[in-house]
């Protein structure tokens, strides 16, 4: 019942979104104001919505993928005692996420922004009896808050510069804005995006966020929430385009994240952790794309990524479900036989993300690479390609180790393994189809396929003052260059897929246990010790400082001074007290001396 309501509401929103899509397509953006949220003098902050091409696109992903994940969850969570709570949180999340993309001003975006962070917190900590999960949830929330602070400050600068937070006001005044100020705003907004989209240096929460139930990882930490940062930058493309410096920063952060986390992904053995690092890496690619000015490509990758990453997570969830909660791939193997549906959809997902020709990832990644080559040059392109290769490597490793070879789990687990019920597999199949065909939404123009660059045209739409909502990137590359770039990366991907099969698929070339790792492998397996670094850089000092301030600064220092005043008064009192020693002779002499001193005032 709960599941039906939960999933049904999503279905309804999906249908409504489709209607919006039609309306937007037919008659342009819809804007409506619900009520004044706050108004301070001229600054009016409204609870208002703007549904234009960009937001409706995001809404499609959110409600569409969200609906599938809801359906899937009915099966996945069916025997959890917090079943109703789960759907409550999940729907709250969808609400927040829609708020984020539908808002017509930055404040609304911020509402959604924090709202999804909150839901993320709630859902990561869903199994709250486990303290570690709670800690992971907290970590996610707090790292997000770091980003939120940046976003908030960015908003303050926007208010100062443009006198409004509404998109239409802000973007209408872009021409007259001070470029330096715009750079500051962009950087601060990007800090927000880094937090939400788990970019270096604020990425460590995302792998930990895998503590949540797998549908949550699929919906929040792969398909939707983490792409909010991409949405933000895309939404503010007008601002970012004015600031090459900021763009540069975005690109560098994106690229570094993409490569760095892909490397970490190579040596992870938790099925969800691999996917998590993969997500971070893909997000890095999106930011790289944004930094190159290819907003559409980024959105395109957001879309296809939503399909195949949701697919991967959900099928990983299916595996975990089938294995009775096991997540370590070293204890899996040969699952192909036991869970055929899951195997096939996982395979599709893996190939899609690896850039297997004509699958969705192939198109979206290719666009990013093309843009990178066009705007950044060969070195940038090469680096991006490295990340693509790494992606293929760890994904294939995951696929082969999990589904090929012999089963390595316990007998009990072997007994337990079963294919998931259809309420779970059907959404998987739908997503698999989407992962396959998703690329057709925005095929490159040089392929001259029908509907070429459809998405880019859609998103360009009609924004304020006739400027496009999301401008199309201009790629001045010859078709042959593009063809060759594409062929090169595709070849590499195929090579990897095949090669890895021989490394992991055929031979039982298992990842060694944690203790036996040495050298660089060990460093990678331990995620470059970034968590430990942060721990000793921020967490420990803060905690130590907290104790220090409490014990020494507060109790002994500040309060010590206060008490010291009291003690001083007492001490002085103790001295004065001795004057009154009961002996009248002292009193008399005191009087006389006092009088004599008083008489001295005559002589002043």
């Amino acid at each position: 019942m709960v599941g039906i309501i939960g999933a049904g509401s999503l279905l309804a929103s999906f249908l409504l979104t489709v209607m919006c899509l039609n309306q937007v397509g037919a008659s342009g953006p819809i804007q409506s104001t619900l009520y004044h949220f706050m108004s301070i003098d001229r600054l009016s902050l409204d609870f208002g919505f703007l549904v234009d091409q960009l937001s409706v696109w995001m809404m499609m992903i959110i409600t569409g993928v969200g609906f599938l994940i809801h359906v899937y969850s009915i099966g996945y969570m069916h025997d959890d005692e917090g079943f109703y709570k789960f759907f409550a949180y999940l729907n709250l999340f969808v609400f927040s996420m829609l708020l984020l993309v539908m808002g017509d001003n930055f404040l609304m975006l911020f509402f959604g922004w924090e709202g999804v962070g909150l839901c993320s917190y709630l859902l990561i900590g869903f199994w709250y009896t486990n303290r570690d999960y709670g800690t992971a949830a907290r970590k996610a929330f707090i790292m997000n808050r770091v980003g939120d602070l940046g976003l908030l400050l960015g908003m303050f600068f926007i208010i100062k510069t443009f006198g409004s937070l509404a998109y239409k006001d802000v973007f209408a005044q872009l021409a007259g804005a001070d470029p330096a100020m715009v750079t500051v705003i962009c950087l601060l907004l990007f800090v927000g995006a880094m937090g939400k989209s788990a970019q270096i240096p604020l990425y460590t929460w995302l792998p930990d966020a895998m503590a949540g139930p797998t549908p949550v990882s699929a919906l929040i930490h792969a398909a939707t929430m983490v792409t909010a940062g991409v949405y933000l930058v895309t939404r503010c493309n007008g601002l970012f385009s004015m600031s090459p410096d900021a763009m540069h920063v975005v690109a560098i952060v994106g690229l570094v994240t993409a490569v760095f986390t892909a490397i970490i992904g190579l040596r992870q053995n938790d099925i969800k952790k691999v996917l998590a690092y993969s997500t971070v890496s893909q997000l890095g690619l999106m930011f790289l794309s944004l930094g190159m000015g290819a907003y559409v490509s980024a959105m395109f990758h957001v879309t296809t990524h939503a399909f195949f990453k949701a697919l991967l997570f959900l099928s990983a969830g299916s595996v975990i479900h089938g294995m009775g909660g096991e997540q370590d791939i070293r204890n899996m193997g040969g699952l192909r036989k036991y869970m055929p549906v899951t195997f096939w959809v996982f395979l599709i997902g893996t190939f899609a993300i690896s850039g297997f020709p004509l699958l969705s990832g192939f198109f979206s990644k290719d666009e990013i690479f093309a843009n990178t080559y066009a705007h950044g040059g060969a070195i940038w392109w090469a680096m991006a390609s490295v990340s693509a290769v790494l992606t293929a490597v760890y994904m294939c490793r995951l696929l082969y180790v999990t589904f090929f070879g012999e089963f390595r789990g316990t007998e009990e687990q072997r007994h337990h393994i079963h294919e998931s019920p259809s309420v779970m597999t059907i959404p998987l199949m739908v997503l698999a189809v989407l992962s396959v065909v998703g690329g057709l939404l925005n095929t490159p123009h040089f392929m001259h396929l029908p509907g070429s660059q459809w998405m880019a045209h859609w998103l360009a739409g009609n924004g304020v003052n006739g400027t496009p909502i999301v401008p199309m990137a201009e790629v001045h590359l010859s078709a042959s260059t593009e063809w060759s770039l594409m062929s090169f990366t595709t070849a590499l991907a195929l090579l990897v897929i095949v090669a890895l099969y021989f490394v992991y698929g055929k031979v039982a070339n298992l990842p060694v246990s944690d203790q036996k790792q040495t050298g660089f492998t060990k460093v990678v397996a331990n995620k470059f010790y970034v968590d430990e670094l942060y721990n000793s850089l921020f967490v420990k000092p803060t905690e130590a400082l907290s104790k220090f301030l409490y014990q020494y600064a507060d109790i002994q220092g500040v309060d010590g001074v206060v008490n010291g005043v009291g003690t001083g008064v007492s001490k002085l009192g103790a001295i004065f007290r001795r004057l009154q020693n009961g002996n009248i002779e002292y009193y008399l002499i005191g009087m006389v001396v006092g009088a004599a001193l008083l008489f001295l005032t005559i002589f002043i």
Binding site: M38, S39, I40, Y128, T135, I142, L149, L549, V558, D559
Partner: protein, 481 residues
């Protein structure tokens, strides 16, 4: 009507203290509700263009220029609403447990309410001061009679500290009074017109500041506060943190800066620095607190530091933010202290480490607590957010870097509140917490009202902002630097 707000609880208090009738609880609650109704009606029938409504102005001590003049403008109405909204909640929350000598307890609570209403309604400087001090007596008795360990030492420190603070305000007020032209007068309108030299203004402002800084409290005058909050009975803590500390903020808005604008430029940087230091300082301390109540106490210091910084910034954003945040902080902190009280009553401990897993056995409690906690963390669409947004913006307008540092509060706020919530509610139950019973009706009512307010005011902050808009404009306009 203003007069009623003071006199009704005062008479009821005298009745309870001296006559000790039966049905004390009902009387106290009824008085609280009646007062709330009066204040709602007053708010309803008031004008919000910055003028003073419902004035009563009668001669009192002519020889000293003191008049019994009360009235409410927008800010006053907000404070009155805060006070009289929280009063029934506080009374109701106290009623879910047995208290020794109830007539005395509720009598003192009502006396406190009368004094607080007086503070917020006074338009005469000396009357303000008198109520300001009068409020101290009942709360001191409440905390010292029904307090926990060390209550005598702690409350004595509290009393003397705050008393010393307000004495300096008295000196400042006197100084201003003697500067009023002609027959001296304590009327706000007369005092505010006094022209001071910068040096004089600095001293006068320091006098005010010391009083209000101790009351709020602002770092480094805060050390009485955690101990007092911890040791006080929950009703007392609620009164202290929910309403009484607002007296300091209110005083700064209404009295300190309008009286001494000449010193604002000179002193505000220091005050700001203190307030912002306090935010970070208290937040960091709160991070590792093991005593839940003390943690909230420190969080309160951090929050109030932000409110104070918003006031000092003296711009529209900051002031509006501080006003709305006063209301919302009051609501949240009352909720939080009630939560602590509920836990302590059931488990007999406030130590976070000894809790855990309560969410499992008391889901209703967990949800309400979560909502209130989110309000305290200032998640958007809870009541904590609008205030914090405006405050941070106000401070940021004053100085970008200070604004950014103050902004750390949203990070640290999340850190310590989530930690507390996690330690208390999450994890496996232990022997004690397994026995934790979920809320009964009265407790649900209190927490439910608080949680509802958290959400309603989170969605519709403009209701509150409109109350004070006109008055803030007028005050900002009337104070020339």
């Amino acid at each position: 009507m203003s007069f009623l707000l003071i006199i009704v609880p005062l008479i009821a208090s005298a009745l309870l203290l001296l006559a000790r009738p039966s049905g004390v609880r009902q009387i106290a609650l009824a008085v609280g509700v009646v007062n709330f109704a009066i204040s709602i009606f007053a708010a309803y029938s008031a004008l919000y263009d910055g003028t003073v409504n419902h004035e009563t102005n009668i001669a009192w001590i002519e020889q000293a220029g003191i008049r019994f003049s009360v009235g409410m403008d927008g800010i006053g109405i907000l404070m009155i609403l805060l006070t009289n909204l929280l009063t029934p909640l506080i009374i109701l929350s106290s009623q879910s447990q047995r208290i020794d000598n109830e007539p005395r307890y509720y009598g003192l609570v009502l006396m406190m309410v009368a004094a607080l209403n007086g503070v917020f309604l006074s338009t005469d400087g000396m009357l303000f001061y008198i109520f300001y001090e009068l409020a101290l007596i009942p709360i001191y008795f409440i905390c010292a009679i029904w307090g926990g360990e060390n209550r005598i030492r702690v409350t004595l420190k509290f009393f003397i500290y705050t008393f010393v603070g307000s004495l300096f305000m008295l000196v400042s007020l006197l100084y201003l009074y003697l500067k009023t032209p002609g027959t001296h007068s304590f009327a706000w309108t007369d005092l505010v017109n006094v022209q001071l030299s910068t040096v004089e203004a600095i001293w006068v402002m320091l006098g005010f500041f010391f009083a209000f800084a101790v009351k709020m409290p602002v770092f480094p005058f805060h050390t009485w506060q955690p101990d007092t909050y911890v040791t006080s009975p929950t009703g007392g803590t609620m009164l202290l943190s929910g309403i009484m500390l607002k007296m300091g903020v209110y005083g700064a808005i209404r009295w300190m800066i309008p009286m001494t604008p000449e010193a604002w430029h000179t002193l505000t940087p220091y005050f700001m620095a203190l307030a912002v230091t306090g935010i970070v300082y208290a937040s960091i301390i709160a991070v590792k607190q093991s005593d839940f109540k003390r943690l909230i106490a420190y969080s309160s210091i951090a929050h109030v530091g932000l409110i104070a910084a918003g006031v000092m910034a003296w711009n529209k954003m900051g002031l509006q933010g501080s006003l709305i945040q006063m209301l919302n902080h009051g609501i949240n902190v009352v909720g939080l202290f009630f939560v602590v009280d509920l836990i302590e009553r059931r488990l007999g401990t406030r130590t976070l480490r000894q809790m855990g897993g309560i969410a499992k056995v008391a889901p209703r409690f967990a949800v309400l607590f979560m909502i209130i906690m989110l309000g305290a963390v200032a998640v958007p669409l809870t009541n904590g957010f609008p205030g914090e947004f405006l405050l941070l913006n106000g401070v940021w307008q004053y100085n970008n870097w200070l604004g950014a540092i103050a902004g750390l509060t949203i990070i640290f706020g999340a850190v310590y509140m989530l930690r507390a919530y996690g330690m208390a509610m999450f994890g496996e139950t232990n022997a004690e917490t397994a026995e934790f019973t979920d809320l009964d009706g009265r407790e649900t009512a209190v927490l439910g009202i608080v949680a509802a307010l958290v959400l309603v005011l989170g969605f519709f902050p403009n209701i509150i902002l409109q109350l004070t808009d006109g008055t803030v404009n007028r005050i900002l306009g009337s104070v020339q630097f």
